[in-house]
C-alpha cells in the first residue's frame, strides 16, 4: 500500500499529526544565556525534564518518557565515548545533533512500519572561550532549529521548546524583546520563569491570539509554582573544572521566584 508515493506521503502526514497530538500537552522548557553561562528552566509536575549530557552540554525533553530516556542515554554515550577516545574538546553539540541524532530520528520517523520517537528535545552548549553559546531544538522528524550563526544571522541567546508551535513562537517573541547576555543569575531565573509562563498560557492558543500580558503571566506563575517543582540548572563558566553543570535545588530557586 505505502509503496505508492501518495500513500506514503499520506502515512507520513498522519504520523506527524499523531505525534503532534501526543506532544501538544508538553509543558515548556526554557534555556537562555546569562552573564556566567546558560540557565535552563522548567516547572515540572511528574518527572525530571532537564539533564546533564556532557561537560558543556545539557538537554531538556518533552514527549514519551521512554523515548526521551533512550535519546538521553544515546547522547551521553556518544559524547562520553568521543570525549574518552579523543578529548572533551572534540565533543560538540553540532556534531552530536547533525551527524548522529538527526539522521536516526528521521529514519525512525519515515519508516512507517516502525515506531517513531515521541520526543522533542532542547539542547544547549556552553561556548568555549569567546565562542557563542549554541541552542538547538531537535524534533521527532530529525528537524533541527538552531539559534542562528548560519547564513549571516547573528546568534540568538536563547532556545525554547513547548508542546505546540504557537507556544514556542510566543516564547521566542517574548525573549526577542529582552536584553539577554548580561543578566545576573537572579534576573535570568526570573526572565526564564516568565517566559515559561508565556509558553504555558499559550499552549492551546491560536496563532493569531495576542501574547499574554504582565498580570496574566504573574498570576499563572503563582498558580503553577504552588503545584509543581522548580527545575533549574546552569552550565557555568569559570569554575576551573571541565564540568560546567550545576543543578539548583528547588528550594533555592523557589525562594528567589516567590520573593519577586
Amino acid at each position: 500500500m505505502i509503496e505508492e508515493p501518495y500513500r506514503w506521503v499520506e502515512a507520513i502526514a498522519n504520523r506527524r499529526e499523531y505525534i503532534e497530538h501526543q506532544l501538544a500537552a508538553g509543558s515548556p522548557i526554557v534555556a537562555l544565556s546569562f552573564a556566567d553561562g546558560i540557565l535552563l528552566f522548567a516547572l515540572s509536575r511528574e518527572r525530571q525534564k532537564i539533564f546533564e549530557i556532557y561537560d558543556r552540554i545539557a538537554m531538556g525533553g518533552i514527549g514519551h518518557p521512554g523515548d526521551i530516556e533512550r535519546l538521553r542515554l544515546v547522547a551521553i554515550e556518544l559524547c562520553s565515548t568521543e570525549g574518552f577516545a579523543r578529548s572533551a574538546h572534540d565533543v560538540s553539540l553540532r556534531r552530536l545533533a547533525n551527524f548522529s541524532l538527526s539522521p536516526a530520528l528521521k529514519a525512525a520517523f519515515e519508516q512507517v512500519y516502525g515506531a517513531p520517537y515521541l520526543a522533542r528535545l532542547l539542547f544547549a552548549e556552553l561556548g568555549r572561550g569567546t565562542a557563542s553559546n549554541v541552542f538547538l531544538r531537535l524534533d521527532y522528524d530529525g528537524g533541527i532549529h538552531t539559534n542562528g550563526g548560519a547564513f549571516g544571522r547573528s546568534f540568538e541567546q536563547f532556545g525554547v521548546i513547548a508542546g505546540t508551535k504557537v507556544a514556542t513562537n510566543h516564547m521566542e517573541e517574548y525573549l526577542r524583546g529582552q536584553e539577554l547576555p548580561n543578566l545576573s543569575f537572579k534576573e535570568a531565573l526570573l526572565l526564564a520563569s516568565k517566559t515559561w509562563a508565556v509558553g504555558h498560557l499559550t499552549l492551546n492558543a491560536e496563532a493569531r491570539d495576542d501574547a499574554p500580558d504582565k498580570s496574566a503571566i504573574a498570576a499563572d506563575l503563582k498558580e503553577q509554582l504552588a503545584a509543581t517543582s522548580v527545575e533549574c540548572a546552569v552550565l557555568e563558566r569559570g569554575s576551573g573544572l571541565p564540568m560546567t553543570w550545576r543543578s539548583i535545588p528547588d528550594t533555592d530557586a523557589r525562594s528567589i521566584l516567590e520573593k519577586a
Binding site: 525530571q48 539533564f51 546533564e52 542515554l73 544515546v74 551521553i76 562520553s80 574518552f84 564540568m243
Partner: protein, 276 residues
C-alpha cells in the same frame, strides 16, 4: 544502510547498567582485557622494557589526607622522564596515585574519571564511595593478563573524602585488585620500603605529637618531602627533589572542600627553609 542509534545499555532491560569500560570496549575505544590463560612467562630479558613510575605515598593528617609522588619515570636503568605526574585527579574529591607502568595507569585513571562522570550522568546520582573504590579494583583485575605477561603492572593508591562519615579515606591496592583501607598511611612503588619505615617511625615515635593525624599542613608537607628524599637516597628509580632544576614532587591535599594542589613556590619555600 539506515542510520541508527547505537544500542543503549538499557535497551534490552539489563538488570544492572553497563559499566563505562564495557561500553568503551563495545565501541572499540578500549583494548579488550588480556587473557590470563596461555600466559607465557616473562623471559629473563624481555623484548620490551616498560617505562615505570615509582614512589608514591599518602597519609592522613590534621587537615585531611595528603598524597604525594616523586616525578621520575624509568625503564630498567634509564631515566625516561623527570616531570611525570603520578598523582591524578579523578573527581572533585578523589585522587589516584600510581606506581607502575604509566601507559596502563594513566589509561586506568582516564577510564575511572570518565566512568564516575558517566555513572552520574546516566543514573542521575553520584556513585557511592564503595562503588568508586570497587571500580578501580575491577580495572586492576581486568588488567591481570598483562601483569602476568610482565607488562602493565599498576599498584595504585586511592584517596577520597567520605561525605557521609565526614572523614578522609585512604585505600591501597595490590596488582591483582585487592583493596585495603589504610588507617593512617600507605605507600607503594620501589621506594615504598623506605617511605613506610619513615612514616611508621614518625607515626609511632616521631616529634612531640607522635601521630601523623595531628600534623599541621606545613609539617605534613615537610614530612612528605623528607620521606621521598629518604626513598631517593637509596632507590635510583625514585626522583626525590631535583635541586638543580627545582622540580618538586607533586603534593595534593583532599578534605571536605575538595582537592588542593600545593604550588611549586610553597613547596620551594618549605624545602629551602627546612630541607635544603
Amino acid at each position: 544502510m539506515q542510520p541508527s542509534l547505537p544500542r543503549t545499555a538499557n535497551a534490552d532491560l539489563a538488570a544492572a547498567p553497563e559499566d563505562f569500560a564495557a561500553l568503551l570496549r563495545r565501541h572499540g575505544a578500549l583494548a579488550p582485557t588480556a587473557s590470563i590463560t596461555n600466559v607465557t612467562h616473562p623471559q629473563s630479558t624481555p623484548a620490551l622494557i616498560p617505562t615505570e613510575a615509582t614512589t608514591i605515598l599518602a597519609f592522613k593528617f590534621a587537615d585531611g589526607v595528603l598524597v604525594a609522588g616523586d616525578r621520575r619515570a624509568t625503564a630498567a636503568n634509564m631515566i625516561v622522564y623527570d616531570r611525570a605526574d603520578k598523582v591524578l585527579e579523578i573527581d572533585r574529591h578523589s585522587l589516584m596515585a600510581i606506581a607502575g607502568v604509566p601507559a596502563t595507569a594513566w589509561e586506568m585513571a582516564r577510564v575511572l574519571e570518565h566512568s564516575f562522570q558517566f555513572y552520574r550522568r546516566t543514573q542521575l546520582q553520584e556513585m557511592s564511595l564503595d562503588g568508586k573504590v570497587r571500580a578501580l579494583s575491577k580495572l586492576l583485575r581486568d588488567n591481570l593478563g598483562f601483569v602476568l605477561q610482565g607488562v602493565g603492572v599498576v599498584v595504585p593508591i586511592f584517596a577520597t573524602y567520605d561525605h557521609e562519615a565526614e572523614t578522609p579515606r585512604l585505600y591501597f591496592y595490590d596488582a591483582m585488585g585487592a583493596q585495603f583501607e589504610a588507617t593512617d598511611y600507605a605507600a607503594t612503588g620501589s621506594g615504598s620500603g623506605a617511605v613506610r619505615a619513615v612514616l611508621h617511625y614518625e607515626n609511632t615515635w616521631g616529634g612531640p605529637k607522635r601521630s601523623l593525624r595531628k600534623l599541621k599542613t606545613n609539617d605534613a608537607v615537610l614530612l612528605a618531602l623528607r620521606a621521598l628524599e629518604t626513598a631517593a637516597s637509596s632507590d635510583s628509580a625514585t626522583g626525590g627533589v631535583d635541586r638543580r632544576t627545582e622540580v618538586f614532587p607533586i603534593v595534593k591535599i583532599i578534605n571536605e572542600s575538595g582537592i588542593t594542589t600545593l604550588s611549586e613556590s610553597r613547596l620551594s619555600k618549605i624545602f629551602k627553609s627546612k630541607l635544603a
